[in-house]
């Protein structure tokens, strides 16, 4: 599996650290609704197909990347800097989220 870092170019997956599901959105720290926090901590979309995820180019430029990757084929269709684009925006994200 290769991931094309926007800064470093195509690199082997072993250079990257998986940071998990990029669909999760941290609730407002001031909120105290247990259900919202429970969903944030434990619930995952886990789709079979295109998946929004965060990887860090830990063995390279160390940038955090917003990646769209297919969980059935491992094909990477989009890689962008997470700092510029927030979480990736494939599919199920609620409208109104940052692009």
């Amino acid at each position: 599996m290769l991931i094309t870092c926007p800064y470093c170019g195509p690199r082997d997956v072993s250079e990257f650290a998986y940071q998990g599901d990029g669909n999760r959105k941290r609730p407002d720290p001031a909120s105290t609704d247990p259900e919202t926090w429970n969903a944030y901590v434990y619930d995952r979309l886990n789709p079979a197909g295109a998946h929004n995820e965060i990887w860090q180019h830990a063995g390279g430029c160390r940038a955090h990347l917003a990646v769209v990757r297919d969980t059935l084929t491992h094909e990477v269709s989009s890689v962008r800097f997470a700092r510029e684009h927030g979480a990736p925006t494939h599919g199920r994200r609620k409208s109104g989220a940052k692009a």
């Binding site: 901590v41 886990n46 995820e53 990757r69 969980t71 491992h74």
Partner: protein, 419 residues
């Protein structure tokens, strides 16, 4: 149906093995059942078997999208053990161990359960202390565990690099002698045959494509072989849990699907009569009765529904094997494969009523569900028959996450790839 005995072996040998009967019927789906079990893996089949055997519920179908054994029940590395730290896990897996000890008799099917032991190695004094703590926790609940010295380990496992100059010197280990391995296909076939004999329909090449509803209630499934109604629908699809629950409109679960790879080497003369785990990475190895080394390591570590992994893990697993056994460096890999594991957020399984009315769910087995096959089916059948958890699986209901009652044996938190 075929009964297996020394006499029947002899009779069939004399008649050229032409008269063996198929172990289970090729059933076609009926319009409705008392219970439909989705998934013909180890857990779905054992659930059907115990529904019939323990609860007298025989109007049951097991729906399998491929052939029996095409999922993780036929992909695992067959280690069976009950060496956990937390009492909920220890009690559940020890119950399973006791069922394994009698399984071939119960099924009249040789599952080749071999109690050759599982030995966890420690490579630092701190790690050895940790294993001693775990061993004490196990013995406290009546489970066997022995702390072994390096000298004992060197005698038990010749070929291990026991030198002080090893990259990760061996300080000792924790042995569970009653642990071991079983033949995974035989477990699927034996349960299938046992369930079939009690009247259960086992329907292969039957993929569930949706759920039938009456208001909120699940009242059956749609499949590539038509609609099948059921009073109760039980889901036991392991790595496919996310996909199947999405068909029921449950979009989010405390599960991530991740791929785990396994490897078999060319055959070697017998030299390893236990299952060994490395403590400084993630590597374990046993030797099959045919002589091949059966081994594996860590998950690939990202979401995947592909039954194949990537090369970095291959390299890591091989290097860990050679660190332990330098003499194995020239041994060739014969085959490798991957299986999709239903990784839960605390590393423990889910056996529960719901989450929708009329539905029952069994999942979250991570990469350790083979050893659970008997107890999982036993407890899940109880849950389905009585609409209440069995005492042994009561800690494993789905609501434990929102209740703050997670069962995290390794203390890793909700990061599935670390469990």
């Amino acid at each position: 149906m075929a009964e297996y005995s020394a006499l029947s072996l002899l009779k069939n040998a004399l008649s050229g093995n032409r008269d063996w009967k198929p172990a289970w019927r090729k059933a076609s789906p009926k319009p409705s059942y008392d219970v439909v079990v989705i998934g013909g893996g180890g857990h779905g089949l054992s659930t059907a078997y115990y529904l019939a055997k323990e609860h007298g519920i025989t109007n049951v179908a097991v729906l399998e999208k491929g052939y029996l054994g095409s999922g993780n029940v036929g992909r695992n590395t067959t280690a069976v053990r009950s060496n956990y730290l937390l009492p909920q896990n220890t009690r559940f897996y020890e119950h399973s161990m006791k069922m394994w000890e009698n399984l071939s008799h119960d099924l009249n099917y040789n599952v080749m359960f071999s109690q050759r032991g599982v030995l966890n190695l420690a490579h630092t004094p701190g790690q050895l202390d940790d294993l001693a703590r775990k061993g004490n926790a196990m013995r406290h609940l009546g489970v066997d565990a022995e702390l072994m010295t390096p000298a004992q380990i060197g005698r038990r496992v010749p070929g291990l690099d026991m030198s002080r100059s090893a990259r990760f010197p061996i300080y000792g280990g924790l042995m569970q002698e009653r642990a071991g391995t079983a033949r995974h296909d035989a477990v699927a076939w034996g349960y299938a045959r046992g369930a079939d004999r009690r009247g259960v329909d086992i329907i292969e090449n039957c993929e569930v494509t949706g759920f039938l509803r009456d208001g909120d209630r699940i009242v059956g499934v749609t499949s590539n072989r038509g609609e099948i109604r059921a009073r109760k629908v039980a889901v036991a699809v392991a790595g496919s849990t996310g996909r199947v629950m999405q068909l029921a409109g449950v979009d989010k679960m405390p599960i991530e699907s991740q791929v785990l790879q396994a490897f078999v080497s060319e055959s070697l003369k017998p030299f390893l009569d236990t299952v060994l785990t490395f403590g400084m990475g993630h590597f374990y190895v046993g030797q099959s009765d045919k002589g091949g080394l059966v081994y594996g390591g860590d998950l690939d570590g990202y979401n995947s529904y592909a039954q194949r992994g990537n090369l970095p893990i291959v390299e890591e697993v091989m290097s860990e094997m050679v660190a332990l056994f330098p003499s194995l460096a020239p041994v060739r890999v014969l085959r490798s494969w991957g299986g999709v594991c239903d990784m839960s957020m605390d590393g423990s399984p889910i056996i529960t009523t719901g989450p929708l009315p009329g539905m029952y769910l069994n999942c979250g087995w991570c990469y350790g569900g083979f050893k659970a096959t008997p107890a999982s089916g036993f407890c899940f059948a109880h849950t389905i028959a009585r609409d209440a958890p069995h005492e042994l699986s009561a800690p494993f209901t789905l609501d434990r996450f929102s209740r703050g009652a997670v069962i995290d044996d390794k203390g890793q938190g909700p990061t599935p790839r670390l469990h």
